[in-house]
Amino acid sequence: MSKSLNVNLNEIAKFEKVASQWWDLSGDFKPLHQINPLRRQFILQHVSELFGKSIIDVGCGGGILAESLAKLGANVTGIDMGEEPLNVAKLHALESGVEVSYQKITAEEKAQENQEVFDIVTCMEMLEHVPNPASIVNACAQLVKPGGYVFFSTLNKTTKSYLLAILAAEKLFKLVPDGTHDHDKFIRPSTLIGWAEASQLKCIDATGIHYNPVTENHKLAPGLDVNYILCCQKVG
């Protein structure tokens, strides 16, 4: 069964192990908590009103982004292939009284049953963890309604991204667990935009998410050489 799924079991195992950490604001996922408001801000720059919008978060993990979007009044579905992160996400949603529907399913399978049903698709910090990211991009494009928006964020394949995301974040400052990222799986913006365009998505904006591991400063700014976020709109 796992043969046909676009899932890296080692990657899933990595995140299963640290699942309890998801909502610890000073734990392994601290950087994610810190940059999450930036992701939300970028989304709001393009879709000013999320109330009543249907959103699917692909690779939702413990639900940090999904919950924050649901809190703005969106109807959010979060999907992931990690059992433990999903359990954590469900528990946390109960705790915070936020309605998010979580489901263990691949993006490709979800897209088969749900063609063009979502106003917005988000896929953040996920593509660098799967064997076939192009297939995820294509699934996202199928999930979104014509005219709807898809947001991707991932890590660029540059020397600087190696130095910051792996050497600094994992080895030196131990912000995230060792082995969180594999530099070979990082994706150049041109490659990602290429996949998007092959799937009828038009890239309309791109910006860098800048995170300084020492000062913990974070901001959206030009410069896509490490962590970047794209906004795409479905043609039609």
Partner: protein
């Protein structure tokens, strides 16, 4: 809510452009701002929902709290034509006197040197409220729903519908939540708030001193914590004495004479002996900040969005700037005939307020740490801290250039 319910409710629903929840200072100020800022050509249908009965031009109940208004806040009240309704009760701060117990350092900051008539004003909270109420009563442009209790809030795509206990349901394009630290609106929108406790309590009292204050405010640093004395009418000062919780409790429980003596010893002889003191009230220092200042068709203003510990009304100056920004955005949207509850406008409000708030909250955070620590390097650093302190007492904040430019 189903379609049919919406339709049936429509027959009795009064539709507003803006509904303000809470008739305290932030709510009243929002109402005055919206009316004063709008152009003559545009109209705005406005209501205030308040849990208590409101009797304009009448002191509701005895409330001896005072606020220190920054220079910028006073300028804003002047621009709304309400300052003259309260100025009579305000004591100008012409000079700030800063000293450190155990160190010879002393600093004076004078209004005259900053080309302003006052660095700030100390004013009873009730005087501001009354001034705003008198103004609102005179222009008679809002619906008062008071006393009224909210039963339910329903956020819908095009409006927010508010069901009042035993009354009709009303709807609005934009809900402005001015309902304080325990905001019902904030809870209805499930916006969580983060509370930071500062292991410090503030003892608040009004005291009468032997020597006149001559319109000076005093900030005195001691090993136990800072003392602020704000000038009021006559020889009266409003005291804010920050101490460790246990010490604060025990000092506040002293009888009047012993309390005055303890204060005199800690404060030094700058105002002679402390003659009398009112009832002492102790507040824990805390910061409660909402994780978001907006929700769909809703803006949080003032204490509903952030409650800063009670020192010298910094919270009100911050809340006033919320009102200023929000009412400007609403007025712009009205003039452009845009939907005043649109996400775009609320996002702008959120973004433009974020910076001001995090700056103050960060500085307030570090101030408390600075004060409570008596290690030599920090004592030496207190002179640097005096500058940072501008954020703690708005009167001092008044001459930070940034704020002088409002």
């Amino acid at each position: 809510m189903s379609e049919s319910e919406t339709t049936s409710a429509d027959s009795t629903t009064i539709a507003y452009d803006v509904v303000i929840v809470g008739g305290g200072l932030s709510g009243l100020l929002t109402a005055v701002s919206l009316i004063e800022n709008k152009s003559d050509a545009s109209s705005i249908k406005l209501a205030i929902i308040e849990a208590n009965a409101i009797k304009p031009s009448q002191q509701n109940e005895f409330d001896d709290r005072v606020l220190a208004l920054s220079h910028g806040s006073v300028e804003y009240l002047k621009s709304l034509s309400v300052w003259q309704l309260m100025a009579g009760d305000a004591t100008p701060i012409e000079q700030i006197h800063i000293s450190d117990r155990g160190n010879y350092g002393k600093a004076r900051i004078k209004a005259a040197n900053h080309s302003v008539e006052a660095l700030g004003y100390v004013i009873p909270l009730a005087s501001i409220a009354n001034g705003l109420l008198i103004h609102l009563e005179a222009i008679d442009a809002i619906d008062w729903l008071a006393p009224a209790t909210i039963e339910a809030i329903d956020y819908q795509q095009e409006q927010v519908s508010i069901q009042l206990v035993d009354e009709a349901t009303i709807s609005t394009k934009l809900l402005v939540a001015c309902d304080g630290g325990q905001s019902i609106c904030r809870k209805a929108a499930n916006i969580s708030s983060i509370q930071t406790e500062y292991q410090q309590h503030a003892v608040i009292a009004n005291v009468i001193t032997e020597k006149p204050h001559q319109n000076q405010a005093f900030e005195r640093f001691t090993e136990q914590g800072p003392i602020a004395m704000l000038p009021m009418s006559g020889n009266q000062c409003s005291l804010v004495w920050t101490l460790e919780p246990e010490l604060a409790q025990s000092i506040s429980k002293l009888d009047e004479q012993s309390f005055c003596l303890a204060l005199e010893q800690a404060f030094g002889g700058w105002l002679g002996s402390i003659k009398q003191s009112s009832r002492r009230v102790v507040f824990p220092l805390a910061l409660i900040a909402a994780e978001s200042q907006t929700f769909h068709r809703m803006a949080l203003v003032g204490n509903a969005s952030h409650t800063i510990h009670p020192i010298a009304g910094q919270g009100f100056n911050l809340g006033l700037r919320d009102v200023k920004v929000l009412s400007r955005l609403i007025t712009q949207a009205l003039n452009n005939q845009e939907d005043i509850g649109a996400g775009q406008i609320l996002n702008q409000y959120q973004e433009s307020r974020q910076q001001d708030q995090s700056a103050i909250i960060r500085l307030t955070d570090s101030m408390v740490t600075l004060f409570s620590n008596d290690l030599p390097p920090l004592v030496a650093g207190r002179n640097v801290g005096l500058k940072v302190m501008n954020y703690l007492t708005p009167l001092q904040k008044a001459f930070v250039n940034k704020t002088m430019g409002y």
